[in-house]
Amino acid sequence: MKYFLYWGCSLEGTGANFLVSLNPVCEALGIEFEEIEDWNCCGASISYAGANDLAVKVLNARNLALAEAKANYDIVAPCSSCYIQMIKINHEIQEDPELLSQVNECLKEGNLAYKGGIKVRHIQDVLYNDIGIDAIKAKVVKPLKGLKVAGYVGCQSVRPFGEYDSVNKPVVQDRLIEALGAEAVPFPNKIKCCGSGIFLPEIDYCLELAKNILEDAVNHGGELISTVCPMCAMNLEMYQGRVNEKYGTDFDIPIVYLTQLMAVAFGMDLKKDAALHYNVIPPEGILKKAVG
């Protein structure tokens, strides 16, 4: 199965453990990725400060046009912010012919055009619907027995469209976690916002958001928190120390990408494939115990 992989600006940096674990896991499941040549940034959730709405749409339409020109594979955007930008703008362009012509007017300046024929998917969507739980289960050689995972869904991987999962009570990540043999603990705050892109500039306000999520995960018995968004991973992992400082808590819970868990369960190399040593709060101990 072939897809375009839209890297986004964080997958080689703060999201490196996501990218490193994504590739071998997908290969094992028969997914072939192709990069969109010369892709540009998607603008994430903060570009409105500098650009008007049409410019942001055009920014993303360029990627869509580049992809469409090459092949009609679906685009998979692992980062939730990139996913929401592209799928939202894609929907808007596809549903409004006037907007489409306006966008194309701008794309013409760069000798590009977008017909509206590409689909944008989330990695969870592809794993759950295209690959399927059974196929994933088949690849598990080291089931993560007894491991309690709090599956953090965040905001932008399901809202606002609920394309492949419920916006109020999402279950797809939990099913994927269970397919690996682990236990997905109940986690009501899994859809609460982590503060996203404005965490850093508004850190005073956003530490509370992080605290609520960490607290809820730990209170429900979560040993580690899984995530599918580099932004969420960053906010929950890197600022745990500051949360503890401000609120007198003692959180020390690893934040692991879903694909990292999958790599471990598939019996792959903990360093080369699962990139566990990239995690700042080390998950090796807990994971090694789970696989025995």
Binding site: P160, C193, V280
Partner: protein
């Protein structure tokens, strides 16, 4: 400088004409679900529905200088619950863009972050993750820059030691020239016209 309530349509019209998705606020019926859903509602000066009421009441200063429009994390919780299907996120972003364009600077740090972000996108077509924070820190001057850098150095160091920081600077994308042309055109024909 505060405005008295004036329900005359002048400010509303300004918003409808110039703010992206501005005309959507007509549909707000002030149910307050957005206010109840927002993760940062306690820190906003006016929750979304009140921003819409203020627009309709002609309270230009209060709206364009409010904290709220810059505090949106784009979590979409309000938008999925709005019974009038108002794209609240887009309206808040549109208002923020307009406010900045008009010279208001609510929440300077976030405004700086947003502006530096776009500048970088415009310059090289991608974001350089290690470079962006530096630019944002120093946007407030050298002293602020050094203070902030020292403040967050531990995080930077941890990321670096755990292979999560790209060492080499990000290169310009090949099609940067044509991207800029496209973006310039969009700025021109988009709502609100060219940046004043």
């Amino acid at each position: 400088m505060e405005n008295k309530i004036n329900y005359g349509p002048s400010f509303s019209e300004e918003v409808f004409q110039n703010v992206d998705f501005g005309e959507e606020i007509k549909m707000c019926m002030n149910c307050g679900v957005c206010a109840g859903s927002c993760p940062l509602r306690e820190h906003m000066d006016y929750p979304p529905r009140q921003i819409f009421s203020l627009i309709r009441a002609g309270k230009r200063e209060e709206v364009l200088s409010s904290k709220s429009i810059m505090l949106c994390t784009s979590c979409y919780t309000c938008e999925v619950r709005c019974p009038r299907s108002i794209p609240v996120i887009d309206v808040m972003h549109g208002l923020a863009h307009y406010a900045l364009k008009k010279g208001y600077v609510p929440r300077k740090d976030t405004a700086d972050f947003g502006r530096e972000f776009w500048n970088q996108v415009y310059k090289i077509g991608r974001i350089d993750e290690k470079d962006l924070p530096r630019k944002v820190f120093f946007a407030g001057g050298v002293v602020n820059g050094i203070k902030a850098t020292l403040n967050f150095m531990d995080i930077g160091l941890k990321l670096f030691l755990h292979h999560r920081m790209k060492l080499l600077p990000e290169k310009k994308i090949k099609g940067i020239a044509s991207l800029r042309k496209m973006l310039d055109k969009a700025e021109k024909i988009g709502k609100g016209g060219t940046v004043t």
